[in-house]
């Protein structure tokens, strides 16, 4: 069995007096322990001084009466009745030395402790409910402005990340542009035309560098032009139109026209 609906009001009948005038309203009790506690209350003595034997007798009488009236009794109550009947007999019989089982007095004491405990909790509950309760006896601010918590996103990007991302991105984009576009060069065709024409103007050994187009100022472009002129000089030498000479390693390179034989 379980207790009753949490919101039903408790208007049960408390057994009055010595228990002889029991008002049988078994539904009003929250289980056998509750019934026992109420019966104990009816003894009007401190729970510490309650007679468990008398209590057992009262309980058994209550149950007997309920059965006589054919009231429906939950199993819990009957189990408790059986146990109390047993306890009662143990309490009345002469003591036996039995180490196996707790003595009748111990059993009685346990029951008494349980009753005291339940009573204590019941009182505590009542004391709680009697406190000045928020929203009933004491009140918080009726119209609180409330405390707002505004979340402001903070991005944890560092300069390092920013630069790295930008760098990576620029590298990527420069790769693509380099594969599409041509390198800045002085074309070999142009070098061949220029060297071929200029060789005819001189019979002496002349530094190859002297044939660089003077209008090219950009060093990179000059480097490219020099490379192209060198390649052109090699081409002219291969076809027998020019001679090349170098006096030492990494020394200046000289070129002159070669007379056709």
């Amino acid at each position: 069995m379980t207790d009753r609906d949490p919101f039903t009001d408790d208007d049960r009948q408390v057994p009055a007096g010595d228990g002889s005038a029991l008002l049988l309203d078994i539904d009003g009790f929250e289980g056998p322990l509750d019934l026992l506690l109420e019966l104990a209350r009816a003894q009007k003595v401190d729970l510490l001084r309650i007679s468990i034997l008398a209590l057992s007798e009262q309980y058994l009488a209550f149950i007997a009466e309920a059965r006589r009236l054919r009231l429906e009794l939950a199993a819990d109550y009957l189990v408790m009745a059986a146990w109390l009947a047993y306890l009662k007999s143990r309490l009345l019989l002469p003591k036996e030395e039995d180490k196996e089982e707790p003595s009748a007095e111990e059993l009685a004491q346990r029951l008494q402790i349980r009753l005291r405990h339940l009573a204590a909790m019941r009182e505590a509950g009542a004391a709680l409910m009697a406190r000045d309760r928020l929203g009933r006896d004491v009140f918080g601010r009726g119209a609180p402005e409330g405390l707002a918590l505004e979340k402001r996103p903070v991005y944890d990007v560092t300069l390092y990340e920013l630069l790295r991302v930008y760098g990576a991105f620029r590298m990527r984009s420069s790769v693509t542009s380099l594969t599409i576009r041509r390198r800045p060069i002085y074309a070999l065709d142009a070098a061949l035309r220029r060297l071929g024409a200029l060789l005819d103007t001189s019979l002496n050994w002349t530094q190859l560098r002297a044939y660089l187009p003077p209008e090219i100022g950009d060093p990179a472009m000059r480097r490219s032009a020099l490379a192209s002129l060198f390649a052109a000089s090699l081409e002219l030498a291969r076809t027998g139109r020019a001679e090349l000479r170098q006096m030492e390693t990494f020394g200046p390179l000289y070129v002159r026209r070669r007379e056709a034989k």
Partner: protein, 217 residues
């Protein structure tokens, strides 16, 4: 008066200004505020506890009091003025005896399992009872007990403290007495070793009386 002392380290007008700030925060809040929540909205390093103690004192005699519930603070109307404020609207539904008892058992014995509650009350707990207490925001699931079956355990919430005006669980009515009489010891101990425990508590008179009764009647 270390409290005063702490604040007195600050120039008076600064202290006043900080008191104003805390006052404003507590007034504006719709829920009890934790000390850290207050501190988070104030200049760093203030002795918030000292300020709160000061405000508590300043408001003690007023129509509105500063009270602590759990580790939180809130302003609320003075209890003695309840007669003035009690709302005409019908009271929230009265809790059943079962629910009140269950709440008390949870409050005093937490963390406690459903089986333990049933053990104390000597009756099964209907499903609705815990629901009602949890819906009211007073009871929460604490965790699981380290016993076979790992049953759930229940305990009370901060709202419970706030609702019943309790600074802490140590302020539960009658808790000292209950502790002293061993009522709040482990529930298993309480019942299984009741006999032995009783003697240790020096309440041997009980057992003799029981014996008396047993032999007497």
């Amino acid at each position: 008066m270390t409290v005063r002392h702490d604040i007195d380290h600050e120039p008076e007008e600064m202290a006043d200004e900080h008191l104003r700030m805390i006052e404003a925060l507590l007034f504006a809040a719709s829920e009890p505020l934790a000390v850290e929540e207050i501190a988070a909205r104030l200049p760093a390093g203030l002795p918030v506890d000292a300020y709160l103690a000061r405000l508590e004192e300043d408001y003690r005699s007023r129509g509105v009091n500063l009270v602590r519930t759990g580790e939180r603070y809130m302003f609320r109307t003075a209890p003695d003025l309840a007669f003035l404020l009690r709302r005409e609207v019908e009271e929230p539904r009265k809790l059943s005896r079962a629910a009140v008892e269950t709440l008390a058992i949870i409050a005093y014995h937490q963390p406690v399992t459903r089986a333990e509650i049933e053990e104390i009350r000597g009756v099964g707990l209907s499903k609705g009872t815990l629901d009602v207490l949890m819906a009211a925001g007073w009871v929460r699931i604490c965790g699981r007990k380290r016993t076979p079956g790992r049953p759930l355990t229940y305990g009370t919430t901060d709202d419970f403290l706030a609702h019943f005006g309790l600074p802490s669980l140590d302020d539960l009515p009658g808790i000292d007495e209950l502790k002293a009489t061993g009522m709040l010891d482990g529930i298993d101990d309480l019942f299984a070793e009741a006999g032995a425990g009783m003697n240790a508590d020096g309440e041997t008179s009980v057992s003799t009386e029981d014996e008396d009764d047993a032999t007497g009647s």
